[in-house]
């Protein structure tokens, strides 16, 4: 069962009632005359209605919580669901292989041969550690660059799926040139002539996200966030203290929701999530991502604007 967020308390309470009834039903207790199955049905209908109401009007902080939900589909889930015949490719040919950056070749929805780069945060503790909680190091960005250059040469479009708190802020990452690695990713993305489509599936954490998202088309999931700095970091610097109130204020001021970013033309489209967020129906969420990306790939290929059009897209963002 999906993990509940703090603002989902009404859902959690209803869920608890459902569980209670189920337990009673299973134990065959002396409440047989009650219509337990009917009661469960009614509660579940109510839950759906409550979820719809809750999710219709999320605050930026709540959206941030949903974007970071540990059970949202991850890079590897998307690849498994949407990329047929995926062959993962490893290593940057310079230093190592970054498991936060899943990259390889395959056919998007079984139709469009492409290169895919997807950040994966991992689900189990072991996976999360191996993937560094989805925070790529220079070797991750350099692996992506290698594949993007190959895609360009081979005429394969590029799809990137972005979900990261940010590029890893650590000693080893700095030692190997984290800044240079991101700068070079941007450089490569401003040069490749093949179509590039990006989706911010969860968190778009600053430069570490942009390094994959300097694309022809940038889509965002409805409850994703994309920000220059985390609301916690922003609160600590500009409000001098990160607490519940200042984080809320920062999340609001930063205009990091999909709706805000569409308005400012930072992104090109929003992919609706299932009621209650992508974590409640990963299959449906991923299916929508698959369709949206396929449509954008076709559009960009048809427009055939090459790197020039992509540069124009970003030069136009003021």
């Amino acid at each position: 069962m999906v993990q509940f967020l703090d603002f989902e308390k009404p859902l959690l309470d209803l869920q608890a009632k459902v569980e209670e009834l189920r337990a009673a039903e299973a134990s065959g207790a002396d409440i047989a005359e009650k219509d337990i199955a009917g009661e469960i049905d009614r509660l579940e209908i109510r839950m759906a209605r409550v979820a719809r109401l809750l999710y219709r009007d999320l605050s930026p902080v709540q959206i941030m919580q949903v974007a970071r939900h540990p059970e949202r589909p991850q890079g590897a889930d998307y690849v498994k669901a949407l990329v047929e015949g995926f062959v993962p490719l490893a290593g940057d040919r310079r230093y190592g292989d970054d498991q936060a950056m899943l990259a390889g070749v395959g056919k998007w929805l079984g139709q469009t041969p492409c290169v895919v780069c997807a950040i994966d945060k991992g689900k189990t503790t072991a996976e999360r550690i191996a993937r560094n909680f989805g925070m790529p190091k220079p070797e991750g960005y350099r692996k992506a660059q290698r594949l993007m250059r190959m895609a360009d040469r081979l005429g394969l479009p590029i799809v990137t799926l972005v979900d990261t708190p940010g590029a890893y802020p650590g000693v080893d990452a700095e030692e190997r040139g984290q800044g240079q690695a991101i700068a070079e990713s941007l450089d490569v993305l401003m040069q490749v002539k093949v179509p590039v489509v990006s989706v911010i599936t969860g968190e778009g954490g600053s430069g570490g996200a942009l390094a994959l998202a300097a694309a022809d088309r940038v889509l965002m999931l409805e409850h994703g966030i994309y920000s220059v700095i985390s609301p916690e970091g922003c609160a600590a610097i500009l409000w001098k203290e990160a607490n519940k109130d200042t984080i809320h204020a920062a999340a609001t001021a930063l205009k990091l929701t999909a709706k805000d970013l569409l308005e400012h033309k930072v992104i090109d489209g929003i992919i609706d999530e299932p009621v209650g967020g992508a974590q409640r129906d990963a299959a449906l969420a991923m299916k929508r991502v698959g369709k949206a990306v396929a449509a954008q790939l076709a559009e960009v290929a048809k427009a055939n604007g090459g790197a020039e059009a992509r540069r124009g897209r970003f030069l136009g963002i003021l």
Binding site: V171, G177, I182, A183, D187, G207, L210, L256, H264, F314
Partner: protein, 284 residues
């Protein structure tokens, strides 16, 4: 523009700002030696005792680096302020108003000029203006500088000193990393050299875009250069960072910059570099 008139006399704004009359001594952050303020312009704000490079106002730096009377400001179209209506403990609009009291519009200068007779375009970030943070206006300055260099068929030099993104402009500030890259890629494709001079401090989105895209990276001695700030890293790894970490010399050792050049040698090194790198431009 106001800052150009300041260039005529080599007086330093940073000095003037501190301006209390009793405050005529500055303590060297490197060795603690007391330095006489009036001597600092002469010594290019370098400590005579230990060689520490103190922060140096951008206008004095440009006046020193470029040939006498070669400098002409390049006009950068203005952009409307405060795209997000941002407010923290203070309104961003008010922060801008305060920062502009010195007569500077945003954290940049763009000039045409020459070094040792070689014409070039320079875009310089102004750390004294909101920590040189990358606003849309700063991004615009880098784009205009790259486009000017491209039109003039001359090299572009970028002098950086920046705390990173301008948070008050949100994701629009982040987009400047891709925006500036687009302009610099076009410059490079046209066969023009792009050089950077990295000063203290150069961090965040500036490091992760145009600061690290040069054909040649020069760095000032002791300059802090990195993607993540040292405090963020210390919080992440819960350890104190080693001495010299993320300093110019450390970057040289790790292959991220080509050279660490003391201030008094920068003109000469840049002149010699330009003499060679521009030689191919006219032949194409």
């Amino acid at each position: 523009m106001n800052w150009l008139t300041d260039l005529v006399k080599p007086g330093l704004k940073t000095t003037v700002k501190r301006g209390v009359s009793a405050d005529i001594w500055e303590k060297c952050p490197g060795c603690g030696e007391l330095l006489y303020e009036a001597d600092l312009p002469q010594s290019l704000y370098v400590c005579g005792a230990c060689g520490h490079h103190l922060r140096w106002g951008i206008d004095a730096r440009l006046a020193h680096l470029l040939d006498a009377k070669s400098m002409k400001a390049v006009e950068v179209p203005e952009i409307a302020d405060d795209p997000l209506g941002f407010r923290d403990r203070k309104k961003y609009k008010d922060r801008l108003k305060d920062a502009r009291k010195g007569g500077v519009r945003d954290a940049f200068r763009v000039v045409r000029g020459a070094v040792e007779g070689h014409p070039l375009v320079v875009v310089a970030l102004d750390f004294d203006f909101m920590a040189g943070s990358m606003s849309r206006a700063v991004g615009q300055a880098v784009v205009v500088a790259a486009q000017t260099a491209l039109a003039d068929k001359v090299p572009l030099l970028c002098i950086t000193a920046s705390g990173g993104a301008r948070m008050q402009e949100g994701t629009l500030s982040l987009m400047q990393m891709a925006r500036t890259t687009a302009a610099i890629v076009a410059l490079k494709e046209a066969g023009l050299p792009y050089l950077t001079l990295l000063c203290d401090p150069t961090t965040g989105g500036v490091t992760a875009s145009f600061a690290m895209q040069g054909d040649v990276h020069m760095a000032e001695p002791g300059a802090l250069i990195g993607f993540a700030g040292p405090r963020v890293i210390e919080q992440t790894i819960r350890q104190t960072l080693p001495e010299g970490f993320q300093r110019a010399e450390y970057l040289l050792e790790h292959g991220m910059v080509d050279m660490v050049v003391p201030r008094k040698e920068q003109r000469d090194v840049l002149g010699r570099l330009l003499a060679v790198v521009v030689s191919g431009i006219n032949r194409r």
